[in-house]
Symmetry: D3
Subunit: 319 residues, 6 copies
Amino acid sequence: MTRNTSIYGPLRLLVGLGCPDLGQEISEYLGVRMTGRDVIRFSNENIFVRLHSSLRGADVYLIQTLSSPVNENLMELLITLDALKRDSAARITAVVPYLSYSRSDKKDQPRVPITARLVAELIQVAGADRYITVDLHAGQIQGFFSIPGEALTAIHILIDYFKTKPLQNVVVVTADLGFAKTGRNYAAKLHGRLAFVEKRRPINGGGPEAMTIIGDVRDKDVIIVDDEVDTAGSITGAAQIVEAHGARDIYLSFTHPVLSGPAIDRLRSLPVKEIVTTNTLPIPPGKRLPNMTILSVAPMLGEVILRAHEGRSVGALFE
Amino acid sequence: MTRNTSIYGPLRLLVGLGCPDLGQEISEYLGVRMTGRDVIRFSNENIFVRLHSSLRGADVYLIQTLSSPVNENLMELLITLDALKRDSAARITAVVPYLSYSRSDKKDQPRVPITARLVAELIQVAGADRYITVDLHAGQIQGFFSIPGEALTAIHILIDYFKTKPLQNVVVVTADLGFAKTGRNYAAKLHGRLAFVEKRRPINGGGPEAMTIIGDVRDKDVIIVDDEVDTAGSITGAAQIVEAHGARDIYLSFTHPVLSGPAIDRLRSLPVKEIVTTNTLPIPPGKRLPNMTILSVAPMLGEVILRAHEGRSVGALFE
Amino acid sequence: MTRNTSIYGPLRLLVGLGCPDLGQEISEYLGVRMTGRDVIRFSNENIFVRLHSSLRGADVYLIQTLSSPVNENLMELLITLDALKRDSAARITAVVPYLSYSRSDKKDQPRVPITARLVAELIQVAGADRYITVDLHAGQIQGFFSIPGEALTAIHILIDYFKTKPLQNVVVVTADLGFAKTGRNYAAKLHGRLAFVEKRRPINGGGPEAMTIIGDVRDKDVIIVDDEVDTAGSITGAAQIVEAHGARDIYLSFTHPVLSGPAIDRLRSLPVKEIVTTNTLPIPPGKRLPNMTILSVAPMLGEVILRAHEGRSVGALFE
Amino acid sequence: MTRNTSIYGPLRLLVGLGCPDLGQEISEYLGVRMTGRDVIRFSNENIFVRLHSSLRGADVYLIQTLSSPVNENLMELLITLDALKRDSAARITAVVPYLSYSRSDKKDQPRVPITARLVAELIQVAGADRYITVDLHAGQIQGFFSIPGEALTAIHILIDYFKTKPLQNVVVVTADLGFAKTGRNYAAKLHGRLAFVEKRRPINGGGPEAMTIIGDVRDKDVIIVDDEVDTAGSITGAAQIVEAHGARDIYLSFTHPVLSGPAIDRLRSLPVKEIVTTNTLPIPPGKRLPNMTILSVAPMLGEVILRAHEGRSVGALFE
Amino acid sequence: MTRNTSIYGPLRLLVGLGCPDLGQEISEYLGVRMTGRDVIRFSNENIFVRLHSSLRGADVYLIQTLSSPVNENLMELLITLDALKRDSAARITAVVPYLSYSRSDKKDQPRVPITARLVAELIQVAGADRYITVDLHAGQIQGFFSIPGEALTAIHILIDYFKTKPLQNVVVVTADLGFAKTGRNYAAKLHGRLAFVEKRRPINGGGPEAMTIIGDVRDKDVIIVDDEVDTAGSITGAAQIVEAHGARDIYLSFTHPVLSGPAIDRLRSLPVKEIVTTNTLPIPPGKRLPNMTILSVAPMLGEVILRAHEGRSVGALFE
Amino acid sequence: MTRNTSIYGPLRLLVGLGCPDLGQEISEYLGVRMTGRDVIRFSNENIFVRLHSSLRGADVYLIQTLSSPVNENLMELLITLDALKRDSAARITAVVPYLSYSRSDKKDQPRVPITARLVAELIQVAGADRYITVDLHAGQIQGFFSIPGEALTAIHILIDYFKTKPLQNVVVVTADLGFAKTGRNYAAKLHGRLAFVEKRRPINGGGPEAMTIIGDVRDKDVIIVDDEVDTAGSITGAAQIVEAHGARDIYLSFTHPVLSGPAIDRLRSLPVKEIVTTNTLPIPPGKRLPNMTILSVAPMLGEVILRAHEGRSVGALFE
């Protein structure tokens, strides 16, 4: 067999409109060119996809993140999967660095959907044989798929970055109690302590939500961590209360820069020294703040794709 | 059992954001109130649906057309179906008056998807037990569903309207040869003749597409028919050539007013006496031309829903 | 890997009772011998299939057309697929040059089946991983399959044949308005004009069906085209009216020679110069007319099988 | 609810071409008229089914046995199921008194199909929600279905008949060792003894199959039992050897009169007093021998249908 | 229809060997007798289930918790579901108060299963149409099911009990950071504060796991909360550190009393005033401590079953 | 490709807790080391599986027999399959030498499950692509799987062993009439005669079950055969009656030594010369009788695995 060919056929890359730059980086990491395709959005808003060359018998990795416009990008992902399936690709892996709708992962009130499960089903029914994603909002979302996949984490990339900095008396703070356990892992790897921000509605139901900090941050270097920052409401509150309690330097660290609505305005006004995130979602130039550091997940995704293609252990990469 | 209850449970209506007015009309036809629901589009573009009251054990008809924004409305449809399924509705019927993506119904070139089949699968996997739709681009799309459903037609509504007019020497013209057979049916019911417009690219590949009329339209009242009008390109060409060949009055008749992009500008400038269509898609005020007549499919849909609910023949309605 | 082996295993051919000669031709094209198998029809009419040698781990192409006896051949196809699946073939492609039941592809009246979708399901459930077929009655039938496949066309084979003839002023006539669009493509490739035959029942419902020709055929060389000729009713009517309108030479061209019931008697009596068709269905000697030309689809099918096996583009073959 | 209506909707009967008389008998037992339907076999051999009235929302029992022509009747069954499903029947039960292909129920040699499982899958995929059948060749075939069903037996009908006869010293003989266990049950209920016929090929492989009787039949009234008689080869051999060993009166008893090929000629020449069977398969007049008694399964099927419809125990019927 | 009958048929209860007392309580709440069944465990360890009377056409609720012996009880659940499905029950709801294997809900290391998803699949494939369960380890496990269901919580039962006690300065402590968010809800409803116990391995990897308390418990009444107590390791550590930090009275509160291995010995030795739990799992007499309070979930489950049966809102019960 | 690699990836073996010795033997036969894995049974009885190294892209054979503890071993099998699937193994074959629950293969009374079908479904849904098993209780159980597989027999191993013995006038006796046909095959291959043991309840229902021998065993060497021996009830009765009828030497021969409950005590007291069985189930030292001969199925399984891996005929091995 020739180079880059395995029992699944030759390795091929296809990149959706959601993350062209990340796709390019992965392509360079692998030394495999992106297969051309047209993605046309007709004036009736129907999305149409046409592959420039056949991927018949190939081991195809379709890289498409669910960035804005989210539903357009999701439909493009599904439609491209259908085109790949009907083109008789040998194996199709949906590489979705940011899986949107992940917060709708359970019925925590009556009469609502579990959209994350629905999205997993849609990806499967459209034709994916496997999936690769990064830092799911909840690890359990892996179980929404019946196909195999890799639910990777970029946390070690973020931590490695912080390890290069001369931080003192690190305290890791989670803005969301649902992220407490992951926060503990962060703290352990950085040999830091842990603190939490608790939000609670007033008993009488009136007035603003009260915020408490549980744990000690005074004169500490604080890293506020989360899996994603969307409108930046929680993380803003956390940064403010942490500052009010006398923290030294404050850092923000999160994998997915969703940064919707008021997020950038809020982040801009925060007393934080540095905002560290990744490129699982593209950040348009207008949203790049001077104190923002964007680490690339491309080498990780590229290496995982290579190992998946060649039938080598992915887990070993992280041990 | 109480009124409006069958072996499928009580009849309930839910209406999506795609066609609120049509939903209201159907609700009035049936004398059944629309069940309230929230449809929230968060700033991260995630759509969230919450039913105001439980539809457990009910025979639910979810009315949502795939109007603009198409992909948003499709996702809302799928998410609402998931919410209904998880709320233990007894039977769920997706009522989709206009099924978008219907023109992507076959691979007529290599390496493309069959998105209409994909959409049918998505609707099924999300939780629909049945579907109801109107004037599919191709009747075969019924076979893309494995669930039962009603693929209705509004053509008799359009024809009945034309029968009230004092037309003379009617000739039915189809702008798209793929619609020729349906055009014949139009003509037969109106006791008119038939003519076709043929488009063909020049042999040398250069210059504009040539258009020919096959059949005789001089001094005739002409009805140009199609299933939908999207950008109005074909129908515009047809109207022009029909006028150039000496037609008397010209009418346009089509079920689905997609009317995207340049459609309205094109239609406004055409020498047609009347444009007759339906409300399977809402037409915003700015797109309503003075010579436009919009017939309602609400009574038909309402009656079909009632019969489906009660286990009475739908086919008999059309015989 | 040895010759004729790909990631799907070695290439193997199996031929059903429906088209032994075509199977032999494909076998010769590919230089791959047909795997032996018994097909026994017990006196209780149960069909039994036994493979002469194991196809475990092979890339198997089962060639079986749905010729007469149609339902026997369909059951043989399904039973053989089950035998192949349970023999652990690595990949199974059902090659069905003529897919019967294709005209039952939609509910155009109430309370009828969509048998073409059913047949597609049966082929899948029996064990096919892919399908290959030729000139489906409607391209949408591709979407009845959720497995990938190639819906090929033999029209270019027919057209290439006509291009070798000294035809003058060609007019392509379609006998069935549902075939109008394909007729247009025929005409465009032959640089000819287009005409249509319209059938219509009398308004009062009594008397014979009236037939009109739309377009001009006088003194022209006419090719009447269709996808298949079954009882030859439509095409006979078309040939007669075309002759009555003064056509010069008349040709018939169609892919699938079903030729059931009165077909041969009708064709024999027609004033046509040549009947051009293919071998997607075997034509028994008694049905071969002197003016009949049968073109072979074997090289096309053989080449497509080879490309599918080797993971090379099939689409490129037709571009 | 009105009479004959349950939570599954009103009870409706549909009868296929395989067993019109049995259908009529069941209809009379139930006092429910058969719903009309057309079954058309076009000259291209395609089967077409059209229901005369809608079965929407009904609890439908489709009665179709797999008599000759077997594959035609099977396809008719599948196509009718599809029509019923797409007509939105509330629940569909396939009543198949004789399930053909039941002897192909395991791979007892390499590279063969398990057609009985395939047939069960086809019935499910075509749209059946439940099945009812009689005396499967092997009880395990119930497990080939994932849908629920009733695998009934007519043996008690046969035994009750024999109980009315003044038999002496009954010995039950099975012609097929695979039927030994059921033969034991026969014998137990008739308070008779048991004997077996063993067939064995000669050791050197040449010459005719040798037949031995194991057990004592001299001067006994012998009932040779089996589930079905196809070509009557085994049962003929059994009758001959039983006679040769000095049996008094000999009876044949079997549920399914397949009676294919040489069966009738063989049965006619046998020294048996009476041939007792049922009408799970219609016996054409020319195959009805003077010593043949045909018992009806219609009351049993009718009663089971009624109980299934009303949600009452079927098992209790047999206890 | 008679009382206790809905569109799903009459309400029927079946109780597995895992929780006979709870089943009895639910039966009394509903006034519906338990349907008899045999559950036999042969000496070859095969479990066999036989229903005493038919549940054909009934709305069946099978109550089986996954108590010890866990895998036996799971197999009994699956086998009973199969028996119910094949008995043509109209609708089958698996009521599983404690869903074992819930902690195996994600791949948090390479090469491990997601057993909770597997168990959900097994329950579905065995025949359940719906499920009801209590306090899943993670809410996302709802999304492991594609069938609808009710994931209930008993936390309000526990909280209501604590509200009857004269507690002072309540602090809610979670022993597991993954439970932090639920702990916050506990605290909010009890108008108490929140504290956490953090466990961390020493940096050099040697020595015992270090435990820290984050938040203030001195002189407070502390309730240590969790979803389940298995070996009681975490909760024991939490109780000890809370005591060491000067808490006043200490309470334990958890839904599922798994209480395996050393649990009872550990709990017995703890300085806690009261252990409050429920009967989602039966607690054998030998494991009932004097300071243990067992609250019943039977009224909640009974009411939910009734509402599900009658098609009334379950969500409304909790609002 | 390297040795031991095929289109399905490299050959890998994994062995469950049910049959470690058999796994070791197969490993030695193949010269392929067993992949390490942890199987942990927590004190809450949850089984947890962790592979020591990745099996991504491999052709994996998981060897796990359903020995005691049966339900634990079945759950371990399912959980390991899930782990393999989620580790992206290329193809997974469940090798289950003894498939428990096989006797629950049909509904021979109302309201019982078909557990063998359920088990087949569970194995498929957990992730198996293929199965290999030995001497199913009924060959039809092959049809309970929709995945391909090999249902092997060890009978030729047993017969080859008996052929090495100086037996005289062999009579093969089946203790169970359901095994009569297989008994005939035994007898034919050993050139022996055939006899049966019939059990029957007394007519009045009281008193012990009566046992009759049908056929002649006096002064013959008798081999009593069955597929498995569970409690040894039937085979004990058979041996006693055979001895009472004057047999010479008596042998027992069966594939699966289930040997539960009183089996060993019964076998120990029987007047049989030799008990011949296989190692499809491990026999603990305390159950090994002096006159017991255990033949290994490891070479057969090893060879079948090798051929399945390499895509060579398995059937040819047995012809």
